[in-house]
């Protein structure tokens, strides 16, 4: 990798590292104060009952529903960091980097789908403890999470395409 693309890759690496630190920090700082700060932590919100004391197990349930999406995202970001380092080093046309790219695509698609389901389950779960606002379970359309899932599918397919290019190159080399 040379020239402009190398500089883009450098800038990209820094941006991904910053996001990989900020994303879990933001999620855990918000979720811990919302769900794990005490039995009255749901009371100030419209979906919480004014006088309800929520047991720790119930709040832990709410806290853990969105965790699969966060774990998939964090794994994806770590793979992206590793992949970008390989890219900058020039090790981009290898089986390792192509496999990593496919993995990033799969993890992103999983993160998007887990996120989509996670928000819907969280709403349904939390409101089921409030008789005034209980709702039936319903998947909500979230264009942001869908975008992540589709971008993941794109990267997954690109990984498969690059693997094919590698196979063709390998076959040609064998003939030579």
């Amino acid at each position: 990798m040379q020239g402009l693309n190398r500089w883009i890759a450098f800038g990209f690496l820094i941006a991904v590292i910053v996001f990989a630190i900020y994303y879990p920090y933001k999620f855990f700082s918000t979720s811990v104060s919302l769900h794990l700060s005490g039995p009255t932590s749901w009371q100030p919100y419209w979906w919480g009952q004014n006088d309800a004391l929520i047991p720790l197990a119930t709040r832990l349930g709410a806290f853990s529903i969105y965790l699969p999406a966060v774990i998939a995202t964090q794994a994806m970001l770590l793979c992206v960091i590793w992949l970008t380092v390989l890219l900058i080093r020039g090790d981009f046309f290898s089986l390792r980097s192509v496999r990593l790219l496919t993995l990033v695509g799969g993890l992103a698609a999983a993160a998007g789908l887990f996120g989509l389901v996670g928000w819907a389950v969280t709403d349904w779960y939390i409101l089921s403890f409030n008789p005034d606002h209980a709702i039936p379970f319903k998947l909500r359309y979230d264009s942001g999470e869908m975008g992540v899932a589709f971008a993941g599918l794109g990267l997954f397919l690109l990984g498969r395409v690059l693997r094919l290019v590698m196979l063709l190159d390998h076959e040609n080399k064998e003939i030579i």
Partner: protein, 181 residues
Amino acid sequence: MHADRATRSVRLLALVFMFPVAIQGVYYTQRGLFRAYRFAFSELDRWNMHRLVDPGTQIETAPRIGYFLIWSVDVLLSTAAFGIGLFILNRLRRGRIVDDVTARALGWLGGTLAIARTFDQVFQAVNRTLITWFNVAGPMPPQWDYDPSDYKTLLLGILLYLFAGVMRQAILVERENQGFV
């Protein structure tokens, strides 16, 4: 032998992915444009009675057109990404895989995704300034709204752009070796 199997797998995957991408592209576009149209034109009270707008304020037509145009750009940028995605999937489905046009289109897809998500963040930030433009105290300052899914898609778009470059280089190498064969 392995390459044949890999080609068939890519063509099949492209065909399968075409359906959800097409459905999502149409649904996202009509939903986004309809939302902007409803807020700007068809349900006037949505803006007039907005919680951030001074009571009794009547919003004229010009800012409504401006609002609709701004959000249309935001929606249509993503629509363009879906269109490019479908173009690439169709080429892959037809077997044009190790191909410079496909690799360039992948770069365009990554770039368009990154630009669309950046614009979305910026438009989200200036949205309340636009809505409160006619308040007596003046418009509210822009406010950054943290949306992690926008950032994730932005990063994936840049990665797609970088690897489209890798694919173009790989195709060049493959062509050179093909020349020897």
